[in-house]
């Protein structure tokens, strides 16, 4: 696994954690402070995953497109990165 795939893997995992955190907060305590902290953090992570997949060199179209889908880009990219690492 090269540096690009490792970075994508870490970022997409963090993105999934942040979106799960937001959803859990939504259905349980729904704390406004937590939302206002996690929301922008998740947005930044989503953005980081999306531009990394779009501009990284030598990625498949499937990985690039998957990283653009809101909510799903975290888990999709985690799966796609494993696929790329296997085929490389």
């Amino acid at each position: 696994m090269n540096a690009l795939l490792r970075t994508l893997s870490v970022l997409s995992t963090l993105e999934l954690v942040s979106v799960l955190g937001l959803l859990v907060n939504l259905v349980t305590v729904h704390d406004a402070t937590l939302t206002s902290l996690l929301g922008p953090t998740h947005g930044a992570l989503y953005l980081a995953v999306a531009v990394t997949a779009l501009l990284g060199r030598g990625l498949t179209a499937r990985t690039r497109m998957g990283a653009l889908l809101p909510l799903l880009s975290g888990p999709l990219t985690m799966v796609n990165v494993r696929r790329e690492a296997r085929s490389a």
Partner: protein
């Protein structure tokens, strides 16, 4: 707290993004090529200079991550993360940072390792132009702050 964050944000922007703008712009002029163009060269190409410029791009580019991170914290502290100009600036910054880390730096590496007739340097120069336009647009957004009610 806000004054400290804003100072760090601006100083880091000047000290870390500035050198990267210069080093990435100058790199294609100094990087080695296999075929010399006709006529006397404008500047002497030098592998050592190109290596130094590549090093500045890498090191200062990595340090420049401080700018968006502190900027995001500042926006959180000030409660401005939902303002349009902040969101647009974040998107532009993300694209600029990704261009620097994923296109410019590896293309510089390739130009140093396997010089060609200058074609890859011209492509690199174009990507650098886009990168510099992007961060200039972000700076303008930071000053004009379109769509915000305060001055």
């Amino acid at each position: 707290m806000e004054a400290l964050l804003l100072s760090v944000h601006v100083v880091a922007g000047i000290l870390f993004v500035g050198p990267v703008a210069v080093s990435t712009s100058l790199f294609p002029r100094y990087a080695p090529v296999t075929a010399a163009p006709a006529g006397p060269p404008r500047v002497e190409r030098s592998l050592d200079t190109a290596r130094l410029l590549h090093r500045i791009t890498r090191v200062y580019g990595a340090l420049a991550i401080v700018v968006p991170v502190v900027g995001l914290v500042l926006a959180l502290v000030q409660g401005r993360t939902t303002e349009v100009w902040v969101v647009v600036a974040m998107v532009l910054t993300a694209v600029a940072g990704a261009l620097l880390a994923l296109q410019i730096t590896p293309r510089q590496r390739e130009a140093l390792d396997t010089p060609d007739d200058g074609a890859q340097l011209r492509r690199l120069a174009m990507v650098v132009g886009v990168f510099n336009l992007l961060w200039a647009a972000v700076v303008v957004l930071m000053i004009v702050r379109p769509g915000s009610s305060y001055s």
